[in-house]
Every structure is written in C-alpha cells, then in structure tokens.
Subunit: 156 residues, 2 copies
DNA sequence: TTTAATCTATATTAATTTACTCGGTTATAG
DNA sequence: CTATAACCGAGTAAATTAATATAGATTAAA
C-alpha cells in the first residue's frame, strides 16, 4: 500500500516546475539535478504527465517543460493519477468500471471496503491544489533561507 | 498503490470466521477451501492476525481460530494494519513517528500530501466495523441464496 | 497412548513489479 | 551547422510479492 517512486518523484518534479514559474520552459536536466533524480528515469515520468495534459513541452535547444494549466487548476489527484494510474487499493472491476471478470461479484462484500478506501484517497488528493503546495513551499523557503543549492536528496 | 494479497485474503479470512460465528473454532483448512486460498499461505496471514490480537487460536484436533473480540469491536483498519503493517502511502519519518533520516525534512512540502492521504485512508478503514461486513454479507447471502458450496474463487 | 488434526516456523522458489540504464532519433534556437 | 533538449523503445538488475514446501510441536479425541 505504498506509492511508488513514480508518484513521489513525479509530484516533486511538477512542483519544481511550478516553483520556477517563469514563462520559460524548465529543462529536465535541471529538475533532475535539483531533485536528485536520474534524468533518464525522469523522462519516463514526465511523459506520463505530458500525456495527461498536466505539462506541455518545448522541443529543441532552450526547450523544456512548463505547466499546461495554472497552478490553481491542477490538483495533486490529477498529478498522482497521471503518474500511478488509478489510486484504487485493488483492481476490482465492480467499482473501477473496467469490464472484468469478478466471478464473485454478487457475493463479494469486501468490495465496499475497497470502494470506501478508494473514495477517501481520491477526495483527499483532489482537495489539494498545486497552488497550495507552491505557497507552502515558498513559506518554507523564506523561513529556512533555503536555496536550490543546499537542497539535498530526498527520501520521501 | 495497491493492497497486496495479504490484505485482501486476510480480510476475507477474518470475515469468513465471523460468518461462521458459532463458539467453535474454525479450522484453517476450511477457510482455505471456502476462500480458494492455499492453506500454507493462509497460515502466514493468520499468524499476523493472531499476533495483533484479532483472532485467537485453539490448538489440537477440532481446533482452529475464532475472533478474539466481538465483531462490533474490530475495525477493518485494525485488520488491514495487522496484515499490511501501516497504511501510509510513503515511509516518511516525519509523520510516521519512526526515527528516520529525512535529510530534507524542513524543505519537504510533499509530506503534507502524504499525511493527508494517510489520514484519509486510516479514518476510512477505522470507520468500518467487522459487524457491518457481517450484516452486509448475510443480506447478500439471503438475496442470492448463496451457500458456501457455490462460492467460487474470488479475484478481489 | 496412540493418532489425527491442528498450529508454528523457516526456507526456498517463481513470478511480478519497480527502478532504473542505454542507445538512438527528432526538433529547434543560435 | 551544432549544441541542446525533448522523445522513443528496449533491456536489465534489484526488490518485492506470492506462494510452496518441509519439518516439527502441540493438543484433544478415541
């Protein structure tokens, strides 16, 4: 029941772009360095974010990525689902809508549990906008006098 | 972000015991057969449940397992945490209380996200009592005329 | 006191997933 | 043209998960 590095790294990457906030595209290599994530790996993560319309890309020299929407319009839920797929605790076809073969659908009671967990996770992350994280991040940076340079590798 | 079979099988096993509800212990081999789970594997799961005080065992011939508490006093959260460990989406020492070395603790903003997800999951599962599942299960069985015999292998 | 049925513990294996790495292609600013 | 940076597909090593297997200890009924 853990989020993979995909979700953790990816969210940090989006937040990184949001914090640069100029109109210029942010190069992946810079994000990779600041966040201590492998560039090659980051490419795979950002591809999912692009596919979901969260970031847009500018190709070629001086290119990079920028947010496709204002920070107030992007929820953490959007980001995490883009990265991790759905946020359901089980692959139960009964409530995910995917046509599957749960041959015990009518007898299965635990699906109510999975549904409640799923709903609570999704409403939690949908209630957090990227703008909140940006604000919070700015506060923290002012308080600690932190800069990109003294930011070290993160464990979570 | 998926629950493992440990959590899924284990919850079903506890519910199975609750539904037998006599004062007699339920043999693991019976649960294994009814739920379509390997006996050896089930033994590992039930051990965690016993360790957490959710079930108690009766050894020897005619032995088995029974609930250590009334169904109204056991929450799905208790069961899932016994099986899966914590239900936190990340191993962030900042909010799990475990003394760890998050060298970016003061700069890390995503931890607020993880904390909110964690809280929502835990309050969701703590709000579901085993008694609810038992009730729901009885309703379903009456409606469908289901018996143990026609219960087939479940996928979720 | 057998004997059957159960719980307990540990070790091994197979399958799957995760977390990357690598090599190359395409596009664009300067 | 050339440097830079996005894009793409495949491959791989490590870790985790899901079992399976083995051996033994405990208990209670016959």
């Amino acid at each position: 029941m853990k989020l993979s590095t995909t979700g953790r790294y990816g969210l940090r990457a989006v937040l990184d772009i949001a914090l640069q906030d100029g109109n210029e595209a942010v190069a992946l290599s810079q994000i990779a360095e600041r966040q201590g994530i492998s560039l090659n790996y980051l490419e795979q993560l950002i591809a999912r974010l692009k596919k979901s319309g969260i970031v847009s890309s500018v190709r070629g020299a001086q290119g990079g990525y920028k947010l496709a929407l204002p920070v107030e319009s992007i929820s953490v839920g959007d980001i995490l689902r883009a990265l991790e797929g759905d946020l359901n605790p089980v692959d139960c076809p009964e409530f995910t809508g995917v046509s599957g073969n749960c041959n015990n659908a009518d007898l299965c009671v635990t699906k109510y549990v999975w549904k409640r967990i799923s709903d609570s996770i999704n409403s939690a992350v949908d209630g957090i906008m990227l703008s909140e994280l940006v604000e919070e991040s700015r506060k923290v940076q002012v308080m600690t006098g932190a800069s990109d340079q003294n930011r070290s590798k993160q464990t979570c």
